[in-house]
């Protein structure tokens, strides 16, 4: 059994270290901040309940990201889910350029925006995304390419490098 204070330190460290990734990944799925926060909270609680054996920080992050995706997927697909999450968020506190970019990415279909988020925000490779999404790497490559193309159509060449 882990001593309480050590466990509390681990809890605090885990939340502080992975909060940004989990919240934003859930947000990329749900397109709604309140729901993303609820899911992120559930993910961290599940982590404490299950205490998965992760040998490296990468494994720990992969576990948290997969659980996040599963919880989002379940909420989005559930029989009793009320589809009220598609109301646009208010980004008025952000510079226009940043707000537009988020809106554009969120306007993409899920299969395009999730790989795009994982690639551009988390820096994951196609192989890593493929493992995380349990989808063939070639399919992920196609989704990324199509997603980029659609974004390019939406926002023009300015944002591209």
């Amino acid at each position: 059994m882990i001593h309480s204070s050590a466990r509390n330190d681990e809890i605090r460290e885990t939340v502080e270290k992975y909060r940004d990734s989990i919240l934003r990944f859930a947000y990329a799925y749900m397109k709604n901040r309140a729901e993303a926060e609820d899911i992120a909270q559930e993910v961290f609680i599940t982590y404490i309940e299950k205490t998965p054996l992760c040998e490296t920080e990468n494994q720990k992050k992969a576990w948290l990201m997969t659980v996040t995706a599963n919880k989002c997927k379940n909420v989005l697909s559930s029989v009793w889910k009320k589809k009220v999450t598609e109301l646009p968020d208010d980004f008025s506190y952000m510079p226009r350029e940043n707000a537009d970019l988020i809106r554009f990415v969120l306007s993409l279909e899920k299969k395009y925006r999730i790989p795009i988020h994982l690639h551009y925000y988390e820096g994951y490779s196609i192989e890593e995304i493929s493992r995380l999404m349990d989808v063939n790497a070639a399919t992920v490559g196609t989704w990324l390419a199509r997603g980029r193309k659609r974004l390019k159509d939406l926002i023009g060449d300015d944002y591209y490098e």
């Binding site: 598609e86 940043n98 554009f104």
Partner: protein, 330 residues
Amino acid sequence: MNKKTYSDSMHMLQFSADFDKKTIEKMEIVARKSEYGPYDVSEKKRFKWQYIAFLALTCAFAAVSIFVLPMLSRPEVSPVKTVDTSAEPSVSETTLDEGTTVSEVITVIDAKQYPDSGMDSMVAPEPGEVRFDEGVLCAISDPETGNKYFFIELHLLADMSVPELGKLKDYLYAGKTIDEWRVLVDLANETYPYNEYNGDFGGNITTAEFEAAIEEAKKLNAEANLTAAIEEYNAAYNTLYPDPEVLRTDALAVECSRLQMLGYDVRLYETWTYFDDGQKKNHTILAGLFTKDELINLRDTDVDPQIAVIVSWVRNGDGIETWNASEWDR
């Protein structure tokens, strides 16, 4: 896309200031509970008595199988099945139409031998598709499970629309459906690329018509109308179904009856989970005892084309639940 701009933009997203505090508090509550373990003293005592009773019952069944079985001839009617569970195959009693009794050896798989890694597929099944989660799939692949029973939960993913209101996307507000308002919002926000719009609407839209559609959408105040439409739908929905749990259990009951008619041993089953505040809360699920062949048959033949199904081990708040004959027969 510029990686840095996207990364910066996502970092600018503001979440609740007290997210960390609330999350850490809840995690600490759960951690404290797990330090004390899943059982309290009274539960441990009760478990001991259940264990003794279980042994006595097993002995009784064994005696019946040794002394009564040889006196019976093999009947032709279908037996009503009850199943016993343990790591080893156990004897169970089968009541027949003639009022006679025979025994058959049936074993329920110890699901804890096939746990999930938590890395299962994140892609939800489509309607008409049955997806086994990692642990169940692993047990199906194991040749040792051929004659054993799987104690599983069927998670149903289906359209939540109700007959009184129809589907959300088809709901009419101010002369347009919600789907039409969504298109207008995308046009007004200029987030609907011409190529996609043209493809979605027959392929004969000129750029001039597209631009006119954008101008028209901007005039219609589409975003406010979409918001109002969804709010109106939800208000009507909440009036009809103030408790969404009723809808969920109704859907489970319908599917349960359908599967029972097809001969599967399924039922609505009470389990429990931890609620947000760490308290236990009862939870109705659709559970079943399936053989490997029945699971494959459900996936390949008997699934409802309107419903997507995920099959997993039955779980409660503490993890995989062990099958219990008395709970199952209740």
